[in-house]
Structure formats: C-alpha cells, structure tokens
C-alpha cells in the first residue's frame, strides 16, 4: 500500500526519447524509494508551454490545461495533480487560478470542454503541485533523508532553481530572490550546497534559446560561469528546460566565447536516486550528455 498517491502530469519532455526522458527515469526510481505512487493522467496533452500564448491566445491555452485538469478530476478523483516539469506545473496552475478568479472564463472553458464530454470543477478540489513541493511539504526533509544509504559526500552542487519553478508561484515559505530548498535538499542527502550561488534564479532564456540563441547563450554562459566561480562540481536543477539549455549548449558557448565549460547538469531526482542506492541507470545518468562522473562513481560503489 502506497504511502502517498498523486495524479501525475508527466508532460511532453518526459516522454520516452524526449529531451527530459532521463528526468522521468530518475523520478520513477526516486518515487519508488519514497513510496510515492504516481497515477498518470490518462491521455494528457501539452500545457502550451511558455511560448503557447503567442499563437494560441488566452482561451485555447486555458482549454489545453483545463482538459488535463478535467481528465484528472474524472480519472484520479481527489488526488493532487503533480507535475515534474516547471512549465506544465505553471501552465496548469495558472489556468486553475485564472478560471477560479474569472467566471466568464470558466463558463467559456466549460462550454468548450463540453464538446468532448468533459467538465471541470476546480474549487481547489485538486491542488496543482510541483514534485519538489511534494518532497518538501509531504515527505519533509527528514523523510527525504530516511532512505539515504549513500550520502553524496564531497560533491559541490550549484543549485540552479531557475525561473518557473520559482516564479510567479514559487514554493511556500521561500523567497523569490533566494529560495533555499534546493540547497537544503542537496545538504539533506549529504552533498555540499553552494548557498551563495549568484545565478540561482537567473533566466536561461527558456524557449527563446531556440528563437534567440545568441541572447540566450549569453545568459547560460553567466549561469555556468557563476557555478565555476564558486567551485561547483556540477549544477543541479528542478526544471527540464533549465537542464537542457544549460547542458546542451556548452560546446557552442565554448566556441563562441572561448570558454572551456564542461560541467554536468543534473536533476534533484537523480541526486536522490543515487543517494538512495539506485544504479546509474536507474538515476538516468546515462541520459546526461555531459556525464556526471562523480555521481556515477557513487552509484557504482
């Protein structure tokens, strides 16, 4: 019998052979160790992501998210919706908030969903939460520590929280300018957190890494540089867009700026999985383009 059960919204990037598939692998392993059961929302669709507004507009964007919420209400009644992707979480939560606040928008949305035989109730029956909220609030730092068998000793992590896990909603009790939960999580599993990491909440460019690569890569360069300045061995993040942007462009940045960046960018779930005794494969470490060698070493021990 599972300790905790949630309605799970994995999102597009977590799919098999998608850009954050290794995140998903490690989340599954982590949840198993923490006795968390994730019930995937059947037939979920994309949230519209941060760029969906421009073509999609207001109501179509909310309909996308409302459909997911409605499906969750129907199939996983009474369960909190949990997302692992910042954009999925943000999109769903924003829609829930906005529909809750605006009767007209809610009525319009209901009218649209009817076409697919769906309905949406809201009224906070289904809070929409990020996986890190589940860890911090439901499991707690003590609980996170409990299954630990291999403390991540001697590794210095720059905790890169990024934007959308942090703003505009953020995690309760944390500041927007300097959230500490990721550092605390790192320390809970025995790693060394760089608590004064200057670029902790700086934007990586998000979706504009595609359309405005030069401007975004300048952001990314600074994010990586600040991690090196503090002697980080690797970067850890809760966001798939952050992970991808900061990891995959390092070669291009090196070429453009003459830098010699080669720093692994990992997910918190990978850290926890390794600390819980999971293998490198279970932690999805084979999915990192820049291999997190020191985590792999611990996993292999």
């Amino acid at each position: 019998m599972a300790k905790k059960e949630y309605s799970f919204y994995p999102g597009c990037s977590s799919e098999r052979k998608a850009s954050a598939s290794n995140y998903m692998v490690s989340v599954e392993a982590m949840c198993e160790k923490l006795d968390i059961k994730l019930n995937e929302i059947p037939d979920w669709n994309c949230c519209g992501a941060s760029i969906g507004y421009a073509e999609g507009g207001e109501l179509p964007r909310h309909v996308m998210n409302a459909r997911n919420i409605a499906l969750s209400e129907q199939n996983n009644p009474g369960q909190d919706i949990v997302a692992t992707c910042a954009a999925c979480w943000l999109g769903a939560k924003e829609t829930a908030d906005r529909l809750d606040a605006c009767e007209q928008l809610l009525a319009d949305t209901k009218e649209v969903l009817q076409q697919a035989g769906l309905d949406i109730h809201l009224k906070n029956e289904t809070p929409i939460r990020h996986m890190v909220e589940v860890l911090i609030e439901d499991i707690g730092y003590e609980g996170i520590k409990e299954p630990m068998v291999k403390p991540l000793e001697g590794i210095k992590f720059a905790g890169y929280v990024g934007c959308q896990t942090n703003r505009p909603f953020g995690v309760d009790g944390e500041s927007f300018e300097n959230p500490m939960y990721l550092d605390k999580m790192v320390e809970t599993v025995g790693g060394e957190a760089i608590t004064n990491y200057e670029k902790k909440v700086t934007c990586c460019g998000g979706a504009l890494a595609f359309s405005e690569p030069e401007k975004s890569q300048k952001q990314i360069k600074e994010i990586i540089e600040a991690a090196y300045d503090q002697g980080a061995d690797m970067i850890v993040t809760p966001c798939p867009v952050c992970q991808m942007n900061v990891e995959v462009y390092q070669d291009q940045i090196n070429k453009h700026y003459g830098t010699k960046f080669h720093i692994p960018v990992t997910y918190y779930s990978q850290l926890l999985t390794v600390a819980y005794g999971g293998s490198a494969k279970e932690a999805g470490l084979n999915g990192n383009i820049i291999r997190a060698k020191r985590l792999e070493d611990i996993a292999a021990k």
Partner: protein, 207 residues
Amino acid sequence: MSDVNTAMVQKYRNDFLKEVEENVEEGHWVKMCMQCGVCSGSCPFGPHWDHPPQEIFMMIRAGKRDEVLTTESMWMCTSCYNCIVRCPRELPITHIMHGLANYAHRLGIAPKMNPTRRFAGIFWNNIAKTGRVNELALSLKLYFMDGFMSGIKKGLAMMSVGIGMIKTKRLNPFALISHKGVKNPKELHVLLKKAREIEDRRKGIAS
C-alpha cells in the same frame, strides 16, 4: 487580417488604452502602473527591448498604438516572471506582454520576421496537431523556416547537440513517423477551434 486592424482603429479612435483594456489579456491592469521601472530593470533580456515594459505602459497611455503593436519588444519576453514578482503594484506584467504580443499577432501587424513570433506559431501548430510536442518535428521546422539551405546550415551548426541528444536517448530520430499524441487528436482540434471562436467573439475579432 489587416481589416481587423482597421476595424479596431475605427472602433477605438484614439483611445488605445481602452482598446488594450478590452482586448488584451490582463490589459485592464495597464492603468495601474506607477512608472517605477522595476520591471525594466528586472528583465533578463531588458537591454534587447526597444521599449521595456515601463515604456510600453507609458506608450499605451499616450496612445502610441502603432509603435506598441509593431515593436519587437514584447517578443523578447522569456517568461521568467521576474517582473511579476517584483512589481510593487502587483501587475501581471508577463501576461500583459504575452497578451500584447498575441493581440498584435492576431491583428496581423506584429513584426513579420520576428523569430520568436514565428517559432511560437510553429510550436503551437506542433502541439495542436497531436496534443503533445514532437521535439524532432519542432526543431526541423524551426531550422527550415527560412528555407532549405538556411535550414541545412543551422542544422549542421546544431548537429552536435542533436547527436548528443540522440545518443543519450533524449531525441527520437524517427519521431516524424513514430510520434504519438493524444488518443483522439480530432477531438482536440474541435476543442481548440471552439475556444478560438469564443475568444474572437468576445474580443470582436471577426476571423
């Protein structure tokens, strides 16, 4: 689409603020800006905006319709939400910028060649088609949006990234044929079409 634009110009005369309030997502907040400039100072892409949010708000109040709707500024928004959490007046600035960009786009007067505008179109069509992102199709579309040769060039430049992703099983080289979305994409199309209809009706945009 430019007919829509003309209709709007006629409808609101020179009251651009009212036009924004009635047609732009969260537009009713524009009048509440107190011109402190914290948003402009907090924007990661701030230096790349011709008119940072503070100025955009001022321009709307000053009735500078064309300048606002044709600027590339809003298209620089990375959706980092820094402005929102710092705004002392709690204006949903990010959403207003999104709303303005979308409105300009819907009127057909947004900058044609702006890469983010074009990417956004590609992205939405990508997800609307099957309900989920097809990352391979998305990247290819993006690279080839300026034509075949340009696409090959960009593709080559991004090759190492792509290969890295494929090798780590984070990009499916066969996704063009094997990508799966929601079970019934047609039903989703119906929903989105209906949503667009209602939205256009509310905003008086006859499509």
